[in-house]
């Protein structure tokens, strides 16, 4: 090929913007053949804290949006991802060393996962909530509500796109906002995926993605008082019990590590919800 390519600068995704790490640090991403692909931003504690601030500010808007609206936004992610299918296949082949067929399947699965969770957005409350027949003149209703700001460590050795989507989609469908650390050695798809999010009507700050080392970042999540839940899906190789112990300080909700890519399930969605029960008096007539 005679044309000189224009490579992309991969940065972070915080509050709807694409900043470099405030630390100025980067790390090399190589192809499976050992060729230089890009420098990824190596996020710091400060970047992480900025993400939590962004996620907290975005929470009331996102959790307060109608469930129908959230469902449409998640479906829109699937649409935009579908349109950039080829790009993701190419990135996955290059960095993960997957075959084109395997890469295509991963992208297709990720798209389908968004469609599946998008459909839950306006249904899970009907399945996980209920009216309660209490003994007295009260209207009594239990509804699941988002837990709040959720930090996730994406799977570190499975498909870089599918792994990330598997952990952030259920969190978003429940109305939470999220700060995600993608697969460390293959973070480029995550940042390209952030471009999808940025053009899919996802409000700024609802999803924040920082590339870097889970071992460095995860402890700052676990001890952050403004993080409500911590999904350790991809933290199996870390000292994750220590993370869970640190998270106990604020009674943070913690999901333990899983092998591979988490299976799509309603329980993964409801794990990041809290049941609120409202009693309302009925008058005597």
């Amino acid at each position: 090929m005679s044309r000189l390519a224009v490579p992309k600068t991969y940065k972070l995704f915080i509050g709807g913007k694409f900043p470099r790490s405030e630390s100025g640090r980067v790390y090399e991403i190589l192809s499976t053949k050992g060729d230089f692909v890009a420098n990824a931003a190596l996020a710091s504690r400060k970047d992480l804290r900025d993400c939590v601030v962004a996620a907290r500010s975005a929470l009331s808007g996102w959790s307060g949006a109608t469930a129908y609206n959230r469902g449409q936004v998640l479906y829109r992610i699937a649409e935009v991802l579908e349109g950039r299918r080829a790009q993701f296949i190419e990135e996955i082949v290059s960095v993960e060393g997957a075959t084109a067929a395997a890469a295509a399947k991963q992208v297709d699965d990720a798209i389908d996962l968004w469609v599946w969770y998008a459909g839950w957005a306006d249904k899970y409350a009907q399945v996980a909530g209920n009216a309660n027949p209490v003994s007295g003149p009260y209207f009594n209703l239990s509804v699941p509500e988002p837990t709040g700001v959720v930090a996730v460590i994406a799977p570190q050795s499975s498909g870089s796109l599918l792994g990330l989507v598997s952990v952030i989609a259920p969190v978003l469908a429940g109305g939470n906002t999220v700060v995600a650390v993608p697969r460390c050695d293959a973070p480029l798809t995550a940042i390209s995926f952030a471009e999808v999010l940025a053009t899919s009507d996802v409000p700024s700050g609802v999803v924040n993605i920082i590339t870097g080392k889970p071992a460095e970042l995860a402890p700052w999540f676990a001890s952050h008082a403004d993080v409500n839940a911590l999904d350790l899906a991809g933290a199996g190789d870390l000292d994750w019990v220590d993370l869970q112990i640190a998270a106990a300080e604020t009674l943070m909700r913690v999901l333990p590590p899983v092998e591979g890519v988490p299976v799509a399930s309603l329980s993964r969605l409801t794990a990041f919800t809290e049941t609120k029960t409202v009693w309302h008096t009925k008058s005597l007539i």
């Binding site: 399945v127 996980a128 209920n130 309660n132 027949p133 209490v134 003994s135 007295g136 009260y138 009594n140 239990s142 837990t147 409500n228 994750w240 019990v241 869970q244 112990i245 998270a247 106990a248 300080e249 604020t250 009674l251 909700r253 913690v254 333990p256 399930s265 309603l266 809290e274 049941t275 609120k276 029960t277 409202v278 009693w279 309302h280 008096t281």
Partner: protein, 480 residues
Amino acid sequence: MSFLEYAPAPESTGILSLRENYGHFIGGEFVDGSGESFASISPSTEKHIATFAAGTEEDVNRAVIAARKAYDGVWSKLSGADRAKYLFRIARIIQERARELAVAETLDNGKPIKETRDADIPLAAAWFFYYAGWADKLDYAGMGANPRALGVAGQIIPWNFPLLMLAWKIAPALAAGNTVVLKPAETTPLTAMIFAEICQQADLPAGVVNIVTGAGATGRAIVEHADINKIAFTGSTAVGRGIARTIAGTGKKVTLELGGKGANIVFDDAPLDQAVEGIISGIFFNQGQVCCAGSRLLVQENIHDEVVDRLKTRLGTLRLGDPLDKNTDIGAINSKVQLERITALVAKGEAEGGERWSAACEIPEKGFWFPPTLFTGVQTSNTVARDEIFGPVLSILTFRTPAEAIAKANNTPYGLSAGIWSDKGSRILAVADKLRAGVIWANTFNKFDPASPFGGYKESGFGREGGIQGLSAYLEGGVR
């Protein structure tokens, strides 16, 4: 001097037939403990009630072995319908022995007999009756077909609603097919031991329910035991944190019902007669020793003075005294330790500039008592607006707009309960949406029902007790 004189109307303790010494209840029998013993006293008279065994690690281990044996050998093999029948039996025997249980609870806990008689004991029976019916319907528990029990549950309960908390723990656990090791609080073990007799009367298979008495060390032995699959705890946030740390990485399921600093929001269009009663039951029910108490009153500024005046008038009519007297509204504080904590926090409230008012009650010479108390002029940063007092102390703050009320209500690491008083349904629902609390009472307060899930957001813990959610807390798996 009360505003009306009533002759004393004490409930007789003659209905009780207590033992002088209680051991643990393990494998269906009362057995001696391997450690020291401790006395439980009546907080209203400081008189000795009975002696109980301080459970050791060895005792806890015996109980867990009995529970595991019962789980593997009997309970997990029983049909749901038969488990249900045992639970129905228990519910019925609690109803039959309700008066005895109410008197025992009041004697041991210090709360008024009208509360144990009308709330604690009937609700405990209702809890067993509700969950009994679930035992053969687990496929409908929201987890898909064939959900499984977890195994042995370790359960640690507080002293504020001794038998009711036991029912909250044991009924769903057994319905779901688990066996249990339960530790009552060290100041209120009495009704748990009467419950053990009830298990015997119901012919519940040996080892399905095991009760080990003791204090913190006994609780730790339960939490740390390797052969326990589920921990359910109700108590302080500090202890809850410790439990969350201990079980980290073990895969044990956990339910934590912890502290609270509930906001009770009164808008200026509220039905004030009802609101005043609701504010009072919200904080003075059970002497305020309630994790979901409405301990922060947020009253709209323009009705502040009127509400405070009405509260003082109404509180002046409450009767503090012998908890066994049917006319008593305010009983004793559960223990000397708790009284000291309340006293210290109230002193801090005064030192930080809050204006204290206490009802002019005659305080009995013996026992642990604290008069119903209000703090006005409270700032959000004051200790009495932030810390859980767990006593009959109401902190009063004001707000102007719904947004301010919501912000103040949510300005706490806790998130257990909240109340909203307004005549406007649309406002109630909008405010309820914004409150970060697990239970919200609108134009009522402190209502409990076995069908209604209870539990907190944030540092008030996780998991729910009651309702279908409380059942699934004792199940896993299931094919959806």
